[in-house]
């Protein structure tokens, strides 16, 4: 039996317009055989939670380069929990200082990918963490 496809929502929270990384990741995950839903820009945490649930996502990849990560990411984690979707794997990418990334991981983010991370690294991480059979 063929393994099902991993479903990933790539999300851009807040007012940040930097979408280069999000688009590269979205395409790389798609090329690696995943089902990718890209939210587009300027999403509220509530909209991202709603998309993750509606799309029955295995993982949410949050791309954020605006410095607002310590406000917006915890709200997404809380929203998922409140909706009983805290099994969704949450990863974050962007310009995140080390201390903040440690704190985000304590709050439940599975991994934080900083500038220079290879797409292959992210693909392997998701393949390793999401059960597909």
């Amino acid at each position: 039996m063929m393994a099902r496809k991993i479903r990933v929502v790539i999300a851009k929270p807040g007012l940040d317009g930097h979408d280069r990384g999000a688009k590269i990741i979205a395409r790389a995950l798609r090329d690696a055989g995943m089902e990718v839903i890209y939210t587009g820009l300027h999403q509220t945490p509530e909209q991202i939670v709603e998309t993750a649930i509606q799309e029955d996502a295995d993982a949410v990849g949050i791309s954020i380069l605006s410095g607002a990560h310590m406000t917006l990411v915890p709200r997404i984690l809380e929203g998922l929990k409140e909706n009983g979707a805290d099994d969704v794997l949450v990863v974050v990418g962007g310009t995140i200082p080390r201390e903040d990334s440690d704190e985000l991981k304590q709050l439940g983010v599975a991994e934080v990918f900083g500038p220079g991370a290879a797409t292959s690294e992210i693909v392997e991480f998701l393949q390793g963490k999401v059960p597909v059979s």
Partner: protein, 556 residues
């Protein structure tokens, strides 16, 4: 000659040299020899494979087609303006950073606004949560602008403001601060970005749909032509297009195409091209591929001069001049071994200077991680000062002019740009091409190709995919105090309770009324509203009510 028996000693032309001598040794394998944008490079350029008509293609500095520079004396007359982009927290923090930079020899100011300001939301709006003062300074009203420029006489500086969707409001605030200081608007010097087309294409900080946005841009161009003759109402920007992942040729072509679109819209409004074209300015990226960047600036000047004179019929030679600001490539900075970014930035800055820039921002080495610290900014400014005063590159104008390689690359980038102009025209122009996602797709493809090349190690990024160094010490980073958001929210709410609310209501009503009617220049009601402390967010909300908002259908 001793070696005349060896036919390879004097090859008969470049083709024979390549066949007989060059190809005799294998090239290194692995890394690409194309430019960072993917353009082919021959191993050697000579008169055999480069055709230069000196008078037609190069000419003299300050003389059409300006390939060699827009001014006759270039840096021997006046160095470029060293203009470091700054802004964070509230107006008070940024005012202190401005004064620090002026004290350290900076010659112009450049303002970075936070995301809510760029997107037309006041600091106390729900969408602003967590973003206030993070990536720039929060400016909600004239009240904040007064604080931002406190103690800085506006007749003594030129100021650049990086804002687009809400540019009209910020220009109005600035003009009001000037008038409060006793400086008439006609004497204010500076630039406001205003380039909305590249927002849809690349930077993605938009509010309204393209058509009303274009109207606002032309309102500003028209207003400045009449009332602010020393001000640049727009800075047509390739910087963000490049940062979003475009090639050098795309940056060049899309930026100039945007410039043509503004000219056509202004002419359609009834302006004469020579009444506004001398005040149009440009903004380019300085990326790492040294010669490609220099060629890009040279090609940009030549194309602009040619199109302004030949296509748009400009008669004033000042209309033909492409003057531009440059910023080193933020996207080339690495979070790994960040000190290496000082070297990258220095090389990029050198390319900008050799390309004849009029002003320059050098990035700080810590910016792949956060907004820069004061020390990092000072070092970035020092980089420019070393280039200006220690390297000698300023002593001769366009010192790379006549290099076979640089001339060939200049002509090739020019040809690539014209190919794009044709494609854009066939799509129905820039706005139509935006709606078809043409630019967005071209950029996404280019950025994906580059990322792939890096991951395949066909491109080496020092410290990232080679020469890594484990156990790096974390840098001291600038932290934006989260309390500043609360402080700013307090400021705007206090303003709302103390201002004349009847005057606010009537100013907003007039703005909406004028927005609903084509043919009324909105700068006038926006200036009036600013004077009675209507906030930027309230003005944008009023216009959202009339015009609606823009939504992109994203492609990847």
């Amino acid at each position: 000659m001793a070696t005349t028996e060896d036919p390879r000693a004097r090859p008969d032309g470049t083709a024979e040299w390549k066949r007989e001598l060059y190809d005799a040794k294998p090239e290194r394998e692995g890394e690409l020899f194309t430019t960072i944008s993917g353009l082919d490079n021959e191993p050697l350029y000579t008169p055999d494979n480069v055709e230069i008509d000196y008078d037609r293609d190069l000419g003299y500095p300050g003389v059409y087609p300006f390939t060699r520079g827009v001014y006759p004396s270039m840096y021997r007359g006046k160095l470029w303006t060293m203009r470091q982009f700054a802004g964070f927290g509230t107006a008070e923090e940024t005012n202190a950073r401005f004064r620090y930079l002026l004290d350290h020899g900076q010659t112009g100011l450049s303002t970075a606004f936070d995301m809510p300001t760029l997107m037309g939301y006041d600091s106390d709006h729900a969408r602003s949560l967590g973003e206030v003062g993070r990536e720039g300074v929060a400016i909600d009203s004239l009240d904040d602008m007064e604080t931002l420029f406190a103690g800085i006489p506006l007749d003594g500086v030129s100021t650049s403001m990086t804002i687009n969707s809400a540019a009209a409001m910020l220009l109005a605030f600035y003009l009001c601060v000037g008038e409060e200081q006793g400086v008439p608007r006609a004497q204010l010097r500076g630039t406001i970005q205003t380039d909305i087309l590249k927002e849809y294409i690349a930077q993605k900080e938009w509010i309204f749909p393209p058509e009303p946005s274009m109207r606002l841009v032309i309102d500003m161009i028209e207003f400045c032509a009449a009332e602010m003759p020393l001000w640049h109402p727009i800075s047509i920007s390739g910087y963000h297009i490049r940062e979003a992942g475009s090639t050098a040729a795309q940056e060049l072509a899309f930026t100039l195409a945007d410039g043509f679109a503004y000219i056509e819209a202004a002419v359609e409004r009834g302006l004469e091209v020579d009444d506004f074209a001398p005040r149009l300015s440009f903004f380019f990226n300085a990326h790492l591929d040294f010669f490609e960047e220099i060629a890009k600036y040279r090609a940009a000047r030549r194309i602009w001069a040619h199109e302004l004179r030949e296509r748009y019929g400009a008669r004033n030679p000042r209309s033909w001049l492409m003057r531009f600001h440059t910023q080193t490539a933020g996207v080339s900075l690495t979070a790994q071994q960040p000190e290496v970014n000082i070297i990258r930035t220095a090389l990029e800055a050198l390319a900008a200077v050799l390309g004849g820039t009029q002003s320059l921002h050098t990035n700080s080495f810590d910016e792949a991680l956060a907004l820069p610290t004061e020390n990092a900014v000072r070092l970035a400014l020092r980089t420019q000062q070393v280039i200006a005063h220690e390297t000698g590159v300023v002593n001769t104008i366009d010192p790379l002019g006549g290099s076979y390689y640089v001339e060939e690359l200049t002509s090739r980038l020019e040809a690539e740009a014209y190919d794009y102009f044709d494609r854009i025209r066939k799509l129905g122009g820039v706005v139509a091409a935006i709606k078809e996602n043409f630019f967005q797709r071209e950029i996404a493809d280019a950025s994906f190709r580059y990322q792939h090349e890096v991951e395949q190690r066909q491109r080496i990024v020092v410290g990232v995919n080679r020469y890594q160094h484990e156990d790096e010490e974390p840098l001291e980073l600038l932290r934006i105090d989260p309390a500043l958001e609360e402080k700013q929210i307090g400021r705007v709410q206090a303003l709302r309770s103390r201002r004349d609310s009847a005057a606010v209501e009537s100013a907003l009503a007039r703005l909406k009324e004028d927005a609903a009617h084509d043919g009324r220049n909105l700068m006038h009601p926006i200036v009036e509203a600013s004077k009675v402390y209507v906030t930027m967010g309230e003005m944008c909300d009023a216009l959202r009510g009339v015009w609606g908002v823009w939504r992109e259908t994203p492609v990847f």
